[in-house]
């Protein structure tokens, strides 16, 4: 509905991404990839983000093997504070389950669901955005109306309805998140395709007889990648927050442990047992923060002129 301000800017503002990140981007035009990498590595915040994410992934993958404690087992009396027990260093929850084990094992669900949802968001968003931007005209208007429709649905509420009406499983939850989170990506992709499609190298490809499908895939898409990579990183963060929100409301997969579910289950006790909600929340926070930092770093690296904005 916001035709007034220009859809390109809207799309970018939507994701917090700056429009028109150029192809290649970096100052050293000869090897743009390497230049981007150099700028990214020099960015302290981005490196911190990578290390943080590596820590979370390590905890999720290796943690359950190093700390062999089932998060569903009752190990001690309920609501014991952190540091008081050796068998539950971060304390116990309202049933007497080990909070540390929950934090370690909760990441797998969050990360898997987020990755599946992000993959779905990218497929739908890039597909629709690319077709709309490349073909323009009525195809564009029709697809943008469609996108707009999904943008006015309150995402979490729609996801709640989908999960409540169908069985909550990792698949339905990823599907619910994927269905509501793609419009941002579609708008960015469309804006990039609109910008690129009449540039000389695309016209050249058309002149030598390349098919539309080939041009979209091999000529335009690679040049539209930088802002999409940035958005994909941020989408991972959003998807994790989403999954946590649904799980907090009790709409997560009931058979798995997840950070959001831990907070939701311990909600009635948080005034007496702050540790049961604080640590899972910190885990969500650091995971999302790592993706935000990486996304920011990539953005700066792809477009050094905009650094710090």
């Amino acid at each position: 509905m916001s035709d007034a301000a220009g859809l390109g800017d809207v799309a970018a503002a939507d994701m917090g991404v700056t429009p028109g990140l150029g192809a290649g981007g970096g100052a050293g035009a000869a090897r743009p990839g390497r230049e981007t990498f150099r700028l990214f590595v020099r960015n302290k915040a981005a490196v911190v983000g990578v290390l943080m994410l590596a820590g979370v992934v390590f905890m999720t993958v290796a943690g359950p093997r190093l700390y062999d404690q089932d998060p569903k087992d009752i190990v001690a009396r309920p609501l014991i504070g952190p540091g008081e027990l050796t068998e539950a260093r971060l304390g116990t929850d309202y049933l007497g389950r080990d909070v540390l084990a929950g934090v370690i094992n909760g990441g797998a669900t969050s990360l898997t669901v987020a990755a599946m949802a992000a993959a779905m968001v990218l497929v739908i968003g890039i597909g629709i955005g690319a077709v709309a931007g490349y073909y323009g005209g009525w195809t564009d208007s029709a697809l943008m109306r469609f996108t707009e429709f999904f943008q006015v649905l309150p995402a979490l509420l729609f996801a709640m309805v989908v999960v409540a009406l169908f069985e909550p499983s990792m698949w339905t939850i990823s599907f619910a998140i994927g269905v509501v989170a793609w419009p941002g990506i579609a708008r960015i992709t469309r804006a990039e395709f609109l910008r690129l499609k009449n540039l000389e190298f695309v016209r050249a490809a058309r002149a030598v007889g390349a098919t539309d499908w080939r041009i979209i895939r091999k000529v335009v898409f690679p040049n539209a990648l930088p802002p999409l990579i940035v958005s994909a990183t941020l989408i991972m963060g959003t998807a994790i927050l989403f999954e946590a929100g649904l799980a907090f409301l009790g709409l997560g997969d009931p058979n798995t442990t997840s950070w959001g579910l831990m907070i939701g289950l311990n909600r009635g006790n948080f005034l007496t047992a702050w540790w049961s909600v604080t640590f899972p929340g910190l885990a969500i926070f650091f995971t999302v923060l790592s993706f935000s930092l990486i996304g920011d770093g990539l953005q700066d690296a792809y477009n050094p002129k905009l650094r710090g904005r």
Partner: protein, 327 residues
Amino acid sequence: MLRSIAARIAQALGLILAVMCLNFLLIHLTPGDPATVIVGESGAGDPELLEEIRAQYGLDRPFVVQLVTYIGRVAIGDLGESYFFNQSVTSLISARLWPTVLLVGTALSFAVAAGTMVGVATARRPESLLSHGATVLALVGFSMPVFWTGIMLVILFASTWKLLPVQGWHDVSYGEGVLANVLDVGEHLVLPALTLGLIYLAQYSRLSRASMLEVLESDYVRTARAKGLGERRVVYKHALRNAVIPVVTVIGLQFGALLSGALLVETVFNWPGLGRLAFDSILRRDTSVLLGVLMVSSVMVIVANLLTDLLYTIIDPRIRLRERSNV
């Protein structure tokens, strides 16, 4: 101008129609008998009621007839019955609408006002400590799950320091009278609104900072400075108007997300709004209420989008003028 407003209103009505169709599809795509879905678990045991629903919604008639019947009912404000409460969904929702509007409105006003202020202040001194602090805060604000932020704020302000109430929106300890009521609700509103506002405060400060930096480099600002205008006048009178345009854009676009955040915040604080209602209806399997909340919330987002579009034309006269020359 009038024609473009009419076009946008028509577009909004089209979107509302699309939401109705979606609601209808959700009822029919759900595994099981649509009549059971409509009445929810509490009504499904009653075969007479199921028959009545089938007749009422025309569930034995062709699909298209059903769709038209459904849209006709919703269009006159009939969102069905809650068989849990034995009350119409419309009346349930209208009782819960204002708390949500109050929460979202307060949070949004706070976020926009404070966010723009921080954004402008940091754009004027991009290398200051405040500026770097604001960048970090924006990242932190974006990365915290909103329900967790709420819980942490309650632990701090309501439990540790005992400054504000933990939850709910009314307290019997307050006396009668309008003023007491306002103070009562106001006190209960602080934490939920702050929780919800903080995320957007973070985003808006970042956004207005970026656009302010850009605007401050533009030619017309240089001209204003060259004329010898004071810095204050240049920033607040000339630059600010253009710098808030992206913020307005994003308010419209993010309103759905804001409402989603409000649902979570309401659940944390037991705030008796639409989110709490949706949450409870899921627990009660009261599907008609849940779908009603989805319908009403989507309409709220559509209306908010329409309002931001109109707001543009006030803030940015270029849009108004461009449209006038087109007509």
